[in-house]
């Protein structure tokens, strides 16, 4: 316990406000060793229970402490296929690091062993030293599997099924694979080259990738099964339908969903104003509505696109904010102005229909609601206005109805999510599903974990037909 928690080296806040490069720079080998030595190698390893995919955390940390990075990454890869991604974007403070003994003893989760940073360290070490090996593929089985959506869920299923020797085709609606990791999460948090590496590994394994292919439109689920010869399908289409607040002024010029704003900037590269054809607002003053990772990403993107003021408006307090603590911290360092216990009432416009402000109400916290969080209650008569030219709505996503509407017999719940059993099997034979389309907007690691379970069940099913 004598060793202090190793700080993550980061790009200087003033500098990173105007570039898209990754903010967190990663541990040096010395830092990684020092951090690894902080782990007590607890017999009960409470951290493992906090990881949704149950990585042998003390095992891989011991290997780092021993200077055996190769062994460390091999241990992680038994359970996780995307360590470079999860090490960066997992909400560690509520998962593996929450129950860590070191954090408990030091009475702060901030002082827990930095498991995520160590995971990232070994994954980067493997990639940067070009040590990633293409997994061995079993002999051809002649069976064909279609995977719809190329987010973390779909990519994981593809790898696990291809390894068994089945033929794998991935379908992606966008022109680039990777799902939210590519269109949503910005470069400064998750470099696109890391995601591309995962895709390259899949193509090297012999998976076929069909981009610009919308299932439900270009081809329907039933056609894939009945006419195109697929023996099984996995649906990993994510939660890509932006929610709006249904307040006055939401369709004015200058109001974006976070999905649109982030897609323009990330996938369409609007931040590269010299080269990209897709435009994005040159905003001066921006309000982002919401308190999750999506809101942080939108706010920090607006900063980088040159906005002079970025306001983040959230109706509860910072404690209830679902965003990762690290992102909140980074956003503050970058000058994002936090408005807690406030909520917009309507968006205001000039005579031409362009946003010129927002009217908000102040809130206070009342009794806990169904989610266990204290319910925010509006304070009557507390209206006030903020001058703005852009509003980004980041209050969450629902699932896209396209597949549901074009696949008779596919059972969905009242939120439109596909109903799947514990093995990821849907109500239709040979069709499996996982990730956000089943869980509702969740996390990368959960999508990956669900993908692995579904892939195992699919491999078993395929072995028996």
């Amino acid at each position: 316990m004598a060793i202090p928690a190793q700080e993550m080296p980061t790009q200087d806040p003033a500098e990173r406000r105007s570039n898209m490069n990754e903010v967190a720079l990663g541990y040096s080998p010395e830092q990684a060793r020092a951090e690894a030595l902080r782990c007590l190698q607890c017999k009960t390893a409470p951290c493992i229970a906090g990881c949704p995919v149950g990585i042998d955390i003390p095992g891989f940390i011991q290997a780092i402490a021993d200077g055996d990075n190769k062994k460390a990454i091999d241990i992680i890869k038994i359970d996780s296929l995307l360590p470079a991604v999860c090490g960066r974007v997992c909400p560690q403070e509520t998962q593996c690091q929450a129950p860590c003994t070191v954090g408990k003893v030091l009475k702060s989760v901030d002082k827990a062993v930095n498991i995520g940073r160590l995971e990232r360290y070994v994954a980067d070490w493997e990639r940067e030293n070009r040590l990633i090996e293409i997994p061995a593929i079993k002999p051809d089985t002649g069976k064909k599997v279609g995977i719809i959506g190329t987010g973390p869920a779909g990519l994981t299923v593809a790898a696990d099924i291809r390894r068994e020797g089945h033929d794998v085709t991935l379908f992606e609606a966008f022109h680039k694979p990777g799902g939210v990791m590519v269109y949503g999460i910005p470069e400064f948090r998750l470099p696109k080259a890391i995601v591309q590496q995962e895709i390259d590994a899949l193509t090297a394994m012999g998976c076929e990738l069909k981009t610009n292919f919308v299932i439900g439109r270009t081809r329907k689920i039933q056609d894939l099964l009945d006419e195109d010869g697929f023996d099984a399908l996995f649906i990993g289409t994510g939660a890509g339908l932006p929610r709006f607040m249904n307040i006055e002024g939401e369709n004015l010029v200058g109001v974006y969903s976070a999905n649109e704003y982030l897609t323009r900037s990330n996938l369409m590269r609007a931040y590269d104003k010299q080269r990209a054809d897709t435009p994005i607002f040159d905003s001066e003053k921006v309000a982002v509505l919401g308190g999750g990772n999506v809101a942080m990403d939108a706010a920090r993107t607006a900063v980088r696109l040159g906005a002079k003021e970025v306001h983040l408006i959230y109706r509860r307090t910072e404690v209830e904010m679902p965003a990762r603590v690290e992102e909140v911290h980074h956003a503050k360092e970058e000058g994002v102005i936090f408005h807690m216990l406030e909520n917009p009432k309507r968006i205001l416009s000039d005579e031409k229909g362009w946003v010129n402000g927002i009217e908000c109400l102040r809130y206070e916290l009342g009794e806990p609601d169904d989610s266990g969080r204290r319910r925010p209650i509006a304070i009557e008569g507390s209206e006030f206005e903020i001058d703005l030219d852009t509003v980004i709505v980041a209050i969450g996503n629902d699932s896209n109805p396209l597949i549901r509407q074009t696949t008779p017999g596919l059972e969905t719940n009242k939120w439109g999510n596909i109903v799947a059993d514990e093995n990821g099997k849907s109500s239709i034979d040979r069709i499996y599903a996982g990730g956000d389309i089943v869980l509702g907007a969740a996390t990368v690691i959960l999508a990956m974990g669900e993908g692995r379970k579904a892939a195992a069940a699919m491999n078993e099913m395929l072995a028996n037909i």
């Binding site: 609606a173 966008f174 022109h175 680039k176 981009t211 610009n212 292919f213 919308v214 439109r217 270009t218 081809r219 890509g240 339908l241 932006p242 709006f244 249904n246 939401e250 369709n251 004015l252 010029v253 200058g254 974006y256 969903s257 999905n259 649109e260 897609t263 323009r264 369409m268 590269r269 590269d272 080269r275 990209a276 054809d277 897709t278 435009p279 607002f281 040159d282 031409k352 229909g353 362009w354 896209n400 109805p401 396209l402």
Partner: protein, 278 residues
């Protein structure tokens, strides 16, 4: 990659391209569109209506007006070259049935998306009256194709260089005043034209369908950039539309939203869809 099989110039700024896209050609129905991209790294994604399709040849036909960056670059491409990406068919197909008498009103480039709808309405047994408008004779497209479908064809130009010298709303109003009045109007063209067509038919309670051409990114319901106010609701044009009840659409809001990037696109020339016919 989709190969351009054929290219034709229909007027000074309007081009027709027949492009290889076998799956889209097989699935598409009247009223649907594609999203096109010329470069997957930096190109923008733009929507264009599928004006026609030949499933046997595996091709679809696009008719577009060169108004800005992407459409102008596309206009410079030739048969044999390849378009980086085509996605589709997107959008909800037009509801086709035998309504009785259908008036199809097309303004400028709007005639292109109107063509497959008029064709399908005719095939469903409707009496199809077509009103086509353009600024002048030179800008009138698909006259022969439309004439082949129409039971009655009315051409209007702003300058009277061909057909009647009037706006398309004038013959539309006359048809609404007849007894029996049309059972349905379908209007496609610049937003202002659709707005005034809807205003024209409203007093006569002639149901009026319009096809909205909002700005889009993904075209699959993911971004909400294409949203419009229809009645009291927000709708996504790419999945809920592109066709809506013209009497419920908030056209002023839609026209405003179309101008979102005017500043950034100022470099591209002024000929917009807007100024094209009315």
């Amino acid at each position: 990659m989709n190969k351009i099989r054929e290219k034709k110039q229909l007027s000074e700024t309007v081009f027709l391209m027949r492009v290889e896209a076998p799956l889209i050609a097989r699935e598409r129905k009247a009223g649907q569109f594609i999203i096109l991209q010329l470069c997957e790294d930096f190109g923008e994604r733009i929507p264009l209506t599928i004006a026609d399709a030949d499933p046997a040849a595996g091709t679809i036909t696009l008719i577009f007006q060169a108004v800005g960056k992407t459409t102008k670059k596309l206009a410079l491409m030739n048969a044999g070259e390849k378009i980086a990406a085509l996605v589709g068919p997107l959008g909800t197909p037009t509801h086709i049935e035998n309504f009785g008498t259908v008036v199809c009103v097309g303004g400028g480039i709007g005639v292109a998306p109107l063509h497959p709808i008029a064709q399908a309405m005719k095939a469903a047994g409707n009496k199809v009256i077509i009103i086509m408008g353009a600024r002048n004779r030179e800008l009138l497209i698909l006259e022969n194709e439309m004439r082949a479908i129409a039971d009655e064809l009315i051409i209007c130009t702003d300058d009277g260089s061909v057909g009647r010298k009037c706006l398309v709303t004038e013959p539309l109003k006359e048809l609404c005043e007849q007894d029996p009045k049309p059972d349905l109007a379908v209007a496609i063209g610049p937003p202002v034209m659709m707005k005034f067509c809807a205003e024209t038919t409203r007093p006569y309670s002639v149901p009026t369908q319009v096809s909205l051409n909002t700005i889009m990114v993904d075209g699959t319901g993911m971004c909400g950039g294409c949203r419009v106010t229809v009645g009291d609701e927000t709708k996504f044009v790419c999945v809920d539309g592109p066709e809506f009840d013209g009497h419920l659409v908030d056209f002023d809001n839609m026209i405003n939203r179309l101008s979102s990037y005017k500043k950034q696109e100022a470099h591209s020339c002024k000929i917009g869809l807007e100024g094209d016919s009315q």
